[in-house]
Amino acid sequence: MAGAIKAVVGAGTIREGRVKLDLPPLVENGNVVPLTVSVESPMTPADHVKAIHVFNEKNPQPHVFSARLGPRNGKAVIATRIKLADSQKIVAIAETSSGEFWSASADVIVTLAACVEDVT
């Protein structure tokens, strides 16, 4: 995950704050996990969130999604549903128009179905 984050952020410093990551603390099924990312920002042409990147720690690959935003969004709030293979840490990084990086992380516990169905 660290490598994937570096690839996006480059040499910039990541500060914690301004980003809120909403995930259920206990997930009933890792196949469909509702997630909301919100970033405090005036979303004006002079000062807005340019992109939101979400990463995971234990899935087969570290990316979850990258979204491009702009002043036409009014609010930097995105909701979607993700897959989580295991209990792990999720990190959201917001990139602002002035080149700053802000982040938040959340630890999620993922439980799986008690009885697994045969694929056949």
Partner: protein, 106 residues
Amino acid sequence: MTNVLINAPKTAKPGEIVEIKALILHPMETGFRPGTNGRIIPRNIIERFTATWNGAEIFRMEMSPAIAANPFVSFFAVATESGTIGLRWTGDQGFLAEEHVAITVG
């Protein structure tokens, strides 16, 4: 074309920030799952979702296999003028889905 459910307001006041929600039918096969024969089921995902307002792009989401099947997205947009909100999904195996909804602002 595949099934899509969209939740967008039909009218809005100028400058109002509206929520747009879209749900699309798609397996989002990760490419990491073994099938019944033990071989990996090939990846088949939606890679990109874009939203336009009267043609101008207002939102874009690059998806990975970590997005859940039948992907759901919710985002916000400032109601600038009346017209058409365009939603577009593209992905593996030449997947393409497009929907348009009209909105009256004023």
